[in-house]
């Protein structure tokens, strides 16, 4: 099975404290630490496990610039055979629809049986996979936390409300958005990344992909981010302060008062 996994370089939420910039209209971006979107590691791992069972190969692709190289190589070190970088000035500032339009161009140049994305990325839009599927007229399932292989089709489980699983049969080729917890993504060490450091990663432009530059990038954005702001915190929590022993004494009183201690 030929599998394409779409990945993204994002600010690492575990490594950054998000603060507003001096102008108060955006977050401070100068010192952000970036890594691969957490969901995408699960998608790449799932793809590798499928290929281990039935053969074929995994290709990872991202829409980005030179800095996205390290993200592709990290996923290649997990076991993806190929990486593709979709890079063009015209792509800058693309929204979910723009990214899906660019990815569609990439899917059309390959012969993929299955396209995977992470269920969501840093902005929480959770939209690229569903949009890409609709553009390709492929069937789509979101929030997938189990994949079983069948003949020309898959059985997939979607994680829905209340811990329930929605089981579906889906024809190939299709697009799936992969939820965290579906597997345990393998560890990637420095040695693994070094082993793929020499592999050539082809770069494709808008012209290579047959993408009309007017439909992507900032030109194609219909939902425009105006600014960032810190939400009003409402009443907020009563903060306990003092020495550790003072805080613990207060906390024990609070636990007793609210029935948390018998």
């Amino acid at each position: 099975m030929e599998i394409l996994v779409c990945v993204k370089r994002v600010p690492d939420s575990a490594e950054n404290e998000i603060e507003m910039n001096a102008e108060g209209n955006d977050i401070e971006r100068d010192d952000l630490v970036f890594s691969v979107n957490e969901w995408d590691n699960y998608a790449v791992e799932e793809a590798i496990q499928i290929v281990d069972k039935v053969g074929g190969s995994v290709t990872v692709v991202t829409v980005g610039d030179d800095e996205s190289d390290e993200v592709l190589r990290r996923e290649m070190a997990m076991g993806a055979a190929k990486g593709i970088l979709l890079n063009d000035d015209a792509f800058e500032g693309s929204d979910a629809k723009g990214v899906a339009t660019i990815l569609k161009g990439c899917v059309a140049k390959g012969n993929y049986d299955l396209v995977l994305t992470g269920a969501q990325a840093d902005e929480g839009g959770a939209a690229v996979g569903g949009m890409l599927a609709a553009m390709l007229d492929y069937p789509y399932a979101s929030l997938v936390n189990k994949v079983e292989l069948g003949e020309g089709k898959l059985t997939v489980s979607r994680e829905i409300e209340g811990g329930n699983q929605e089981m579906n049969s889906i024809d190939l080729p299709c697009v799936l958005s992969i939820q965290t917890g579906i597997n345990e993504p393998r560890y990637v060490g420095i040695r693994g990344i070094r082993q793929v450091s020499g592999v050539e990663i082809p770069e494709l432009s808008a012209a290579d992909l047959g993408v009309d530059a007017a439909t992507v990038g900032e030109a194609g954005v219909k939902a425009k981010k105006v600014d960032y702001f810190v939400p009003e915190s409402g009443d907020g929590a009563e903060m306990l302060e003092g020495s550790d022993s003072e805080i613990i004494a207060k906390l024990i009183e609070i636990l007793k008062a609210n029935g948390g201690l018998q």
Partner: protein, 316 residues
């Protein structure tokens, strides 16, 4: 503003409460507001919707007995004129259906909004980023239509049920699909039932390592028979605790007397699983969103604080 449609979900023949919020959101967008319900044998659901919306379109077809996103999308594309604004409550169905619908309608798309106003053909919306640490204003050009998913709780619901609306049946059209629903599988019962606990010691990413989970168990033990250990999603994803201990929209809904959130940032998905009780948050990040919703907050590293609290309880 153009026509506004709201897609309503229902379970076991009962209209979801989100309808009462969607009608408020729809009227904030425009005056011409219509609800759409799809399913098989849904007269009662459509009538319930007509108490809330002035107009209801029902699509009653055996192929829609289960809301398969691909089939529902086909029905919506058939019914809804291009250029309309379409609202969904943000849930796992909307995540499945709405992005693709925006492509098929050639409309703008914005998801999981927590604020909505109309200004001409622009929708002025608010979204969260970075787990709620910051918000963004997002202006949506809806001149050619828009698909919008709304986070539950954004608007106060209109519970009057006095709309006295009309119900009109519409034909579904082509209902073939390349994805078919098989069944719903319910979660396996775990060895603990956190929904029955009086006190939950709930751990998140701040626990850092699997071996550290023991300190949460020790604290729960020191707190007495009514206390259990629960957790947020990353702990279950890492397989450090079983899924039956997960609190949140994709896990259990809990109502303890006291909920102690230890090293949990407080995402919307997590807080959606807490339906009552006194919330105590302990987190080393003073900007953690959990401090906005907790009753009491403590800025501390749980790996140091929890053992100290356990020891103090042992001395009582």
């Amino acid at each position: 503003m153009a026509q506004v449609f709201a897609y309503l979900v229902h379970n076991d023949g009962v209209l979801d409460d989100s309808a009462m919020e969607l009608v408020v959101a729809a009227k904030a967008v425009g005056d011409d507001v219509t609800a759409i319900v799809t399913g098989s044998g849904i007269d009662a659901v459509a009538d319930a919707a007509a108490q809330i919306f002035p107009k209801v379109i029902k699509v009653d077809d055996a192929a829609l007995a289960y809301p398969n996103a691909e089939v529902v999308r086909k029905a919506l594309v058939t019914i809804i004129p291009k250029g309309s604004v379409v609202l969904f409550a943000n849930n796992t169905f909307a995540m499945d259906c709405a992005p693709g619908l925006s492509i098929k309608m050639d409309a703008a798309y914005v998801s999981d909004i927590i604020g909505l106003e109309a200004d001409g053909t622009t929708l002025k919306t608010i979204r969260q980023e970075f787990g709620g640490e910051v918000n963004t204003h997002v202006d949506v050009d809806a001149a050619d239509g828009a698909v919008v998913t709304l986070r539950p709780g954004t608007f106060a619901p209109d519970e009057s049920k006095a709309a006295g609306g009309s119900v009109e049946a519409a034909a579904a059209g082509d209902m073939s699909a390349k994805r078919t629903f098989i069944e719903i599988v319910e979660p396996e019962a775990g060895d603990v039932d956190i929904t029955k606990a009086d006190l939950l010691v709930s751990i998140g990413r701040g626990i850092e390592e699997e071996d550290n989970i023991e300190i949460a168990h020790e604290l729960a033990k020191a707190m007495g028979a009514g206390a259990e250990v629960s957790c947020s999603r990353p702990i279950v994803d890492a397989k450090w605790l079983e899924p039956s201990r997960q609190v949140g929209t994709s896990g259990c809904t809990v109502k303890p007397k006291v909920y102690m959130a230890c090293g949990i940032s407080g995402s919307f998905q997590h807080m959606g699983g807490i339906k009552g009780g006194f919330v105590i948050a302990i987190n080393k990040n003073e900007n953690a969103p959990i401090f906005q919703v907790a009753n009491v907050g403590i800025v501390a590293d749980i790996l140091e604080f929890i053992p100290e609290l356990t020891e103090a309880l042992g001395d009582l």
